[in-house]
């Protein structure tokens, strides 16, 4: 017990040198926790938004549907089976029909996705209620803010869309922007327009057909028939997970730099300390302390910086981290193009798990870095030192 007490006393006795070391270490700890929390928040926020607006509790995909294959979209539609139909009637599922079209605005044409959704659906947070037909010959359409920005469309604008129906016949009609929705989920916004499912089935000659059937959260999927395959959230969120993992891996370079700087400071302090205190070490050994105990003492002194760093980090870090968690982090312009379903403000999420593992990681590293220079103590010959010669 005497060694830890001795170690703490020695650390405090070192004065400003110890506090500086601890402060540098605390900066690393707070930065790592903050960055990790930021990525965790990014994932949580993104997945939550995607589940609410796009994925629900999972999706049934019609055979052959691949959102990343623009060539297969045209053939990706099929009859809604009895099982799915019952789920839709019970409001446990919502179906979406997807097809391609060309949007003409101010004489320019844009390739777009046309998506049909039931205006009465309650599964997704898309304001589909405004898509009810008004019998004026113009089809109400819903677009997102990104689509509005790219195409120059705004609420009330009338535009023409041309498409080929399921039989390959050209058709074109006027659509009117009923609403511009603000959403963080780009998959329901970029280059696409939403119209009523019934209208879409009628104009595309795809009666009782759909491409995707999204089920309500916490509903157990059932076998929906041969042409329909269920995709769970693990599968649907895989891309998001991979993206966050890639971003986190990229940020680890920053962690390494921060930790490296802190560890250099600890290592230097330890080396200098052993050099300056060689008489003290020799005296301790001469008085009967074993070399291993002296090594343990110096290692613990190094680790004491870590304890000090945690205390300092708690003093300024906890309020800072709480502040960012509550107020969020305003995302810089251009983040919208990253491919994440993020809002304007990102709220970091700090879990106890995250704090514990970060502290443990830094603690172990400090212990190693403190121990390595302390091994030199084993080579000390106390008699020579006390006589005045160096080791």
């Amino acid at each position: 017990m005497i060694i830890p007490v001795f170690a703490i006393k020695n650390t405090f006795r070192a004065g400003i040198k110890s506090w500086l070391n601890a402060f540098v270490l605390s900066l690393s700890i707070v930065s790592i926790i903050w960055l990790q929390g930021l990525y965790k928040g990014m994932y949580d926020q993104g997945t939550r938004a995607m589940i609410d607006a796009e994925l629900g509790g999972g999706q049934y995909w019609v055979e052959g549907y691949d959102p990343y294959d623009p060539f297969s979209i045209e053939d990706s539609h099929g009859k809604i089976t009895h099982v799915l139909s019952e789920m839709i009637k019970e409001k446990s599922a919502a179906c979406i029909l997807i097809a391609r079209g060309m949007l003409y605005k101010q004489g320019r044409m844009y390739s777009i996705l046309i998506k049909g959704i039931d205006p009465e659906q309650e599964i997704l947070s898309i304001p589909s209620g405004i898509l009810k037909e008004k019998n004026n010959g113009i089809i109400p359409a819903l677009i997102g803010t990104r689509m509005a920005k790219n195409s120059g469309l705004k609420k009330g604008d009338i535009f023409t869309v041309q498409w080929k129906d399921s039989k390959g016949v050209f058709d074109a009609m006027n659509f009117q922007v009923s609403e511009v929705m603000k959403t963080t989920v780009q998959n329901i916004d970029n280059n696409q327009i939403w119209i009523s499912l019934n209208t879409m089935q009628k104009i595309f000659n795809m009666h009782s057909e759909a491409t995707i059937v999204t089920i309500k959260k916490d509903i157990k999927p059932v076998n929906a028939g041969l042409n329909w395959e269920f995709k769970n959230l693990d599968f649907l969120l895989q891309d998001m997970k991979t993206l966050v993992q890639a971003k986190t891996a990229g940020a680890s370079i920053l962690y390494i730099i921060l930790i490296f700087l802190a560890m250099i400071a600890v290592f230097d302090t330890q080396t200098l300390s052993i050099f300056k205190r060689k008489k003290e070490i020799s005296t301790l050994i001469a008085m009967g302390m074993t070399k291993n105990k002296v090594i343990a003492l110096f290692t613990l002194e190094g680790m004491a910086y870590d304890i000090l760093a945690v205390i300092i980090a708690a003093i300024y870090g906890v309020p800072l981290l709480i502040f960012t968690a509550v107020k969020g982090w305003k995302m810089p312009a251009g983040t919208d193009t990253y491919g994440f379903a993020l809002g304007d403000v990102l709220y970091p999420v700090y879990s106890l798990n995250l704090v514990f593992w970060t502290l443990l990681f830094v603690f172990i590293l400090t212990a190693i870095v403190s121990y390595v220079p302390s091994r030199k103590i084993a080579k000390i010959e106390p008699a020579k030192i006390l006589r005045g010669s160096t080791f």
């Binding site: 623009p70 101010q106 004489g107 320019r108 044409m109 390959g168 016949v169």
Partner: protein, 244 residues
């Protein structure tokens, strides 16, 4: 009642006669247009928003199903080749040195920024097999006397449900072709500005394609040279010829 039945019968006979006449006209148009093998040198003039681009190409055409086009100018497009065999279209770009198959929605994209789409290149031009026709009346366009004929798709899988064409009464050349969407919206308009008598056939040598939903003057298509019944080696219509 008798008078009513008589009127209906006369009207039906008149309509049948009109349809037969229209079908005969269409057959003559197709006979005039059809050739086994063709070699064409053409210039496409694209009127863009800011500039006008001229693209020159050589094409070898076999019947209605096979064609091979090589772009020869400007420098940016030189070496680009396109091969059409039945419903398939491949494109070779020298800059990427790759052959890509144009399919799905890509077919509806603009062909080199023109008013034509890749799909327009793919279209089966045999009118008589896909459309029923009826003469709507007579008209004059570019000082030529024409029949105004309405074409209605016979089957459900034809790209344009309705077309209205103006056919030159003497030369049996389509001088104007209006193509409509299922909803009745006019989508494309093809107008002939010049005809020439070449190797015993009257042929449109200056055509304007206009996507009616787009702004602009449309795309001009000028035939600089045309040779009928030329010998085309079979390798010309193979994918390997795209990279040669």
């Amino acid at each position: 009642m008798k008078m009513y039945s008589f009127t209906v019968a006369v009207a039906a006979l008149f309509l049948l006669n009109q349809q037969q006449d229209a079908q005969n006209i269409i057959k003559k148009v197709e006979k005039n247009r059809y050739s086994d093998n063709k070699y064409v040198v053409s210039t496409m003039i694209i009127h863009g928003r800011r500039a006008v681009r001229k693209i020159k190409a050589k094409s070898w055409i076999k019947g209605e199903e096979k064609s091979f086009t090589e772009y020869i100018s400007p420098a940016r497009e030189r070496g680009t080749k396109m091969l059409k065999i039945k419903d398939n279209l491949w494109m070779y770009s020298p800059s990427s040195d790759r052959i890509i198959r144009i399919s799905g929605n890509m077919l509806r994209q603009s062909l080199m920024g023109s008013d034509l789409t890749y799909e327009d290149m793919m279209e089966d031009p045999v009118i008589s097999s896909h459309y029923s026709s009826v003469i709507l009346g007579d008209t004059i366009i570019t000082n030529r006397k024409c029949w105004k004929i309405k074409l209605k798709a016979r089957t459900e899988d034809v790209s344009y449900k309705k077309r209205i064409i103006l056919v030159d009464k003497e030369r049996f050349v389509i001088l104007q072709d209006e193509r409509y969407a299922k909803s009745g919206t006019l989508l494309r308009k093809v107008s002939v500005k010049k005809m020439e008598f070449i190797q015993g056939k009257w042929i449109a040598t200056h055509i304007i394609f206009k996507d009616m939903l787009k702004r602009g003057k449309g795309t001009e298509f000028i035939i600089n040279e045309i040779k009928y019944n030329v010998k085309i080696p079979s390798y010309r219509f193979s994918k390997s010829s795209l990279k040669r």
